[in-house]
């Protein structure tokens, strides 16, 4: 993955998020405060603008800019979490002009650790961690996994959050009433990962 691929990834992710903005907010209305789509759309639009207008020395530097933009623009719970994730990934990829899929999977594993440190959520608590953790570990376990398979697996992980009872984040206050909807952050995480795998698939072919 080179700088251009990374840019493509984030721009595609932004497009998907803009498309799904209302859907994400709708999910958050059901079990949260209804702003997840607005938050993500605001943050990733700014990321997309920054990527379109700035030059970066390496992919680490690019991801650092993404992190700072998300931290400064998203707010709420998802801002610090995605921000921390990209910050940790940027540190892992510092100074690299490009990287292999394994490098990237490792960087995303660092990102996952950052999310868990910041948010203190474990798997099964109906948060974005329920997409991040299984997807990243599946990729790490099998770096040769096909992109379509990963996309499908990511989707399955997201779907599983529906049956979960939230234990972290705003939805946790709902108790059992949080069961029955996808977690908004799990859905936005799916958008992020499936955009990544889509771009990697294109880059490989």
């Amino acid at each position: 993955m080179n700088q251009q691929n990374m840019k493509d990834w984030l721009i595609l992710a932004n497009e998907r998020i803009q498309e799904q903005k209302d859907y994400l907010s709708e999910l958050d209305r059901a079990i949260g405060d209804g702003d997840h789509g607005v938050n993500m759309a605001r943050g990733f639009q700014e990321v997309s603008n920054k990527l379109a207008t700035q030059e970066f020395t390496d992919i680490g530097a690019m991801l650092q800019q993404v992190a700072m933009t998300l931290i400064g623009k998203v707010g709420g719970a998802s801002g610090p979490l995605y921000g921390t994730a990209f910050l940790k990934a940027s540190t892992a990829l510092k100074g690299k002009g490009e990287c292999t899929n394994i490098d990237l999977a490792n960087a995303l594993n660092e990102a996952l650790k950052g999310i868990k440190l910041r948010g203190k959520a474990e798997i099964g608590e109906k948060t974005m961690v329920d997409v991040w953790e299984p997807v990243v570990s599946k990729w790490l376990d099998n770096p040769e996994a096909g992109m379509d398979e990963l996309i499908e697996f990511t989707h399955e992980c997201m779907v599983e959050t529906k049956a979960m009872e939230a234990k972290k984040g705003r939805a946790a206050y709902l108790g059992k009433r949080s069961i029955g909807t996808f977690d908004p952050g799990a859905v936005s995480s799916e958008l992020l990962f499936s955009s990544l795998f889509t771009v990697l698939k294109g880059a490989a072919s």
Binding site: G75, A77, S78
Partner: protein
């Protein structure tokens, strides 16, 4: 969605301008940020107190900026925690070298963003302390979850910590009294109608003409239960019981009562509700030292209210009564 606004994306910035224009003697806007500070910040020799959170809770939080309460309020987007960079700008503008107390409501987003700001501030040598308000007793307390939310009782923290700082308390002392208020204040609310985030354009939830939401969050988050609309007296019984269950009150204890409107509930109803609360408390032998009725921490235009009860002691009483000069608390 019917609102007196210009642009749903610009509500926070325009509101901040309008506030500062209304109270130029009290408030100053930090250019390029969503931070409002005391006109005379930083106040030499004084510990600074900062709070904030998502917008939509007006007069919280900027309405409490001023002598005897907050030094700064940081506004996020509507119902969205402000970001660390903004909070950090606020901390820099109010720190006089005596440290900054952050008053944070217990929401994952708020806690994380304020913590990141604290890391930035500490890296610059600012002394930082933080307290986390979790007065909402609607949700069971549990170590497995995020714990309880912070709601209207937070205003008592602003008032009392602010008074302690104004009197020259050290950062540790201000933090300690803030924590004392937090352990002494319990709250719970109900909602009759939802509210609409301007940028989303539709209500946060649907609810029929016959129902109300019990234990509602202040961001339109669903509560713990949905019931038939109850009478004021029934609501008072429910909330008083839930709130008092968390207090150990003796016959000597005095309390302060805060009846908080969520935005669209007329004062008429808040006063009727206060009549019921007063009656029930009197019957239970609870001594009410002082009552506050009005809009202190709202949820945009939600109809509903919350009850907060603060158990007083001499220190808290004195600080509660200390002078304050802010837009929303005098």
């Amino acid at each position: 969605m019917k609102k007196v606004i210009n642009n749903p994306e610009a509500v926070v910035h325009e509101m901040i301008e309008g506030m500062v224009q209304a109270y130029p003697d009290k408030l100053r806007h930090l250019e390029g940020t969503t931070v409002i500070v005391r006109a005379d910040a930083p106040v030499p020799g004084k510990v600074a107190v900062i709070s904030g959170g998502g917008s939509g809770h007006e007069p919280s939080h900027a309405g409490y900026v001023g002598r005897g309460m907050l030094d700064a309020a940081v506004a996020g987007e509507v119902f969205t925690s402000p970001t660390p960079d903004q909070i950090y700008e606020g901390m820099k503008a109010i720190d006089s070298g005596n440290g900054v107390l952050m008053v944070i409501k217990n929401y994952t987003g708020d806690v994380m963003n304020f913590e990141m700001a604290a890391e930035l501030a500490e890296a610059e040598g600012i002394k930082v302390a933080k307290v986390i308000v979790n007065d909402d007793v609607a949700v069971e307390n549990s170590t497995f979850t995020t714990g309880r939310r912070g709601i209207a009782g937070t205003v008592f923290v602003h008032k009392i910590a602010g008074a302690k700082a104004e009197k020259g308390g050290s950062l540790e002392e201000v933090e300690a009294v803030a924590n004392k208020v937090i352990s002494h204040v319990k709250s719970m609310g109900i909602a009759l109608t939802p509210c609409t985030i301007p940028a989303v354009g539709k209500p946060g939830f649907e609810i029929s003409e016959e129902e109300m939401e019990v234990g509602m969050g202040i961001h339109g988050e669903p509560g713990i239960e949905r019931t038939k609309v109850k009478t004021s007296h029934e609501i008072a019984e429910l909330l008083v019981e839930k709130v008092l269950a968390e207090h150990q009150l003796t016959a000597e204890d005095k309390v302060a009562v805060l009846i908080n409107g969520l935005g669209a509930t007329p004062l008429m109803e808040l006063f009727i509700f206060n009549k019921d609360v007063s009656e029930i408390l009197a019957k239970k032998g609870v001594q009410v030292y002082k009552t506050f009725v009005g809009e202190y921490m709202t949820s945009i235009e939600m109809a509903g209210l919350s009850l907060s009860i603060l158990k007083l002691d001499d220190e808290l009483t004195e600080l509660l009564e200390a002078p304050a000069d802010t837009a929303a608390w005098k």
